[in-house]
């Protein structure tokens, strides 16, 4: 979630790629244990995710990253109980696809979120479905699977609070977290 720790990971990933002579050819393994970006996360000690103070994410147009050309719109929204990509957001996804194709070392976490209704672990599954839907779209657009990782937050990180449809609609989302 936090930009700075991701940035560290990115630097690490890039330098590892150099050292390893770019061995990122594990295409077919991706999505199974082969794509264990979990091992990257495992390398960080427990709790290291808490070191940087302020959380930052997409939508903020003033970050250093966005100056490097990451599309500024980083959140798309979903209908209730749906994981289909609304046509109005296809241009957003295309812009990210274009950026990722042009920057094969760039990686993004697709964070899936739901509104607060229903049970938490089931919503974890629904959030994953939304992020998977975006992942499939990106793959079809020619983005390498190795650049994408899905993390579902379910209903755990609502963007706004409130038991009304307005709030729910803002919480049913997938965020591109670079």
């Amino acid at each position: 979630m936090q930009f700075s720790s991701y940035a560290k990971g990115l630097v690490l990933a890039v330098s590892l790629a150099f050292v390893a002579g770019c061995s990122s050819s594990g295409g077919t393994q991706d999505g199974t244990m082969g794509g264990t970006s979990g091992s990257g996360a495992a390398g960080q000690g427990v709790g290291s995710g808490q070191v940087s103070g302020t959380g930052m994410n997409g939508g903020n147009g003033t970050t250093q990253a966005s100056q490097q050309g990451i599309p500024s719109v980083r959140t798309i929204y979903f209908d209730f109980d749906r994981d289909t990509i609304r046509s109005e957001f296809e241009s957003v996804l295309n812009a990210h696809a274009q950026y990722l194709r042009a920057n094969p070392n760039a990686r993004v976490v697709l964070e899936g979120h739901t509104d607060e209704r229903g049970t938490r672990e089931y919503n974890m599954g629904l959030g994953e479905r939304r992020a998977n839907s975006v992942q499939r779209f990106m793959n079809v657009q020619g983005v390498s699977p190795s650049q994408l990782e899905v993390v579902s937050y379910g209903e755990e990180r609502p963007a706004v609070r409130g038991n009304n449809e307005d709030s729910y609609a803002q919480n049913r989302r997938v965020v591109f977290s670079y």
Partner: protein
């Protein structure tokens, strides 16, 4: 499996945040019409004065919260006896008390030696009496013990007042949030922080012996299941597969953990053998399969799946992996938990009034809604089956609620600030 093993061995010590307090208060929201009237007289202290904690009041609050008792108010107590010998049964019949509790205490160094007695007013007899010695700082625990004895003597059901609850608090929104995992006494007092994080914490689950909690934490920015020993604070990361690592549930023998893992592409139910760190996949469908919970006999697991459309509860036979659908009322039934006798399920049911705690009788398959709140989640059953604790909303805040298993009595446990959710009722601890 190798990295997992290494992670397992890398046990991490988590320090208790010494003074972190998030005590919950209790508001009774619905009293039962069948509650039994009982008089509880303040304990007499030898040499005068009063106890540092009002033991009689703690007992009274406990019994009232169970929904099965209606304690008389203090100003309607007709006399203040402190032992059975001083009781005039006719007096108490006059004020319609069915039962009477009296007690006396004597200070002995840093301890109090307390005697309590329970009388059956109509039977005109003393039912139980016991001497309890307690440190002056542990008087509430002693009162919970006495409540357990009184409850069992009258109802025949083991009391669950000496148990604890785990729960999660959160503050903030979006990327600026703070999460914490707490355990507290069943009455919401004596809370203790177990873990805090800027990343989500959810799904705490007590081991059957009450010594450990399994839970999901996103502290590495990815979900992982941890098992933490409550006495030593030592913990291990049990799983950190790609994708969802969620919904840990202990088998009744404490050796296995059922969970939901999405490493195969969608959430599936797995069983982990904790000692061997081996995993067995139990479901196989393209749907979301999650929220497993073991039957008391350990032979089956109830879980949530949307394989037939909306989420419904299914029962998995652990030996054969055969799956059978259990719920058919309405289009949203999730997060099932067995009653301790295995005869019914508590679950979240979506009806016309929102998401509510319901009970389904497994004999008749009849489903009954128990709550009148609209945003209920996470039902967790007391070890004696008498109450269900759950998360719900009060205004825009997450609070804990509890309802008696028959739906007749209910109370709320709001927090002073922030949201509270994900309650998990401990097993019997004594």
């Amino acid at each position: 499996m190798k990295p997992l093993l290494n992670l397992w061995l890398a046990a991490v010590l988590v320090l208790f945040a010494a003074q972190a307090q998030a005590n919950l208060t209790i508001e009774i929201t619905r009293g039962s019409d069948r509650a039994v009237p009982i008089a509880i007289v303040p304990f007499a202290v030898e040499g005068g004065g009063s106890l540092p904690d009002d033991v009689a009041q703690v007992i009274s609050d406990n019994l009232e919260r169970s929904g099965q008792f209606d304690p008389l108010s203090r100003n309607s107590l007709i006399a203040r006896p402190s032992s059975s010998g001083e009781v005039n049964y006719r007096d108490w019949r006059a004020v319609d008390a069915d039962y009477l509790v009296v007690g006396q205490a004597r200070e002995e160094g840093s301890n109090y030696r307390m005697q309590f007695e329970l009388m059956d007013i109509y039977g005109q007899r003393r039912m139980i009496g016991e001497v309890v010695t307690s440190d002056r700082n542990e008087l509430r625990s002693a009162a919970h013990y006495m409540s357990d004895q009184i409850f069992e003597a009258i109802t025949g059901l083991r009391g669950a007042f000496s148990t604890r609850i785990a729960y999660v608090t959160s503050e903030g929104v979006g990327d600026d949030m703070r999460f914490a995992l707490y355990i507290a006494d069943a009455d919401g007092r004596n809370s203790q922080e177990i873990l805090s994080s800027d990343e989500p914490i959810l799904s705490p689950a007590w081991s059957p012996d009450g010594t450990k909690l399994a839970y999901v934490s996103f502290e590495t920015e990815r979900p992982a299941i941890y098992i933490q020993d409550l006495a030593t604070s030592q913990r291990v990361r049990a799983t950190s597969f790609p994708g969802i690592n969620g919904a840990p549930a202990w088998s009744p023998d404490g050796r296995r953990l059922a969970m939901s893992l999405s490493k195969d592409g969608q959430p599936e139910i797995y069983i982990m053998n904790i000692a061997e760190r081996s995993f067995e996949r139990m479901t196989n469908s393209s749907s979301i399969d999650t929220e497993p919970s073991w039957s008391p006999d350990g032979r089956s697991i109830v879980f949530t799946s949307d394989r037939s459309g909306g989420p419904q509860l299914f029962q998995l036979d652990v030996a054969s992996k055969q799956v059978e659908r259990l719920t058919f009322t309405g289009n949203y039934n999730a997060r099932g938990r067995y009653s301790p006798d295995g005869d019914s399920l508590f679950l979240i049911h979506r009806g016309n009034n929102g998401y509510q705690v319901a009970r389904q009788d497994l004999g008749s398959n009849r489903l009954t809604t128990l709550t009148d709140t609209r945003w209920d989640e996470s039902p967790s059953v007391a070890p004696n089956g008498s109450m269900v604790i759950f998360a719900t909303q009060q205004g825009n805040n997450g609070v804990l609620g509890a309802v008696s298993a028959d739906g007749r009595a209910a109370f709320r446990l709001p927090a002073a600030r922030g949201d509270v959710r994900e309650p998990a009722w401990s097993p019997f601890l004594n």
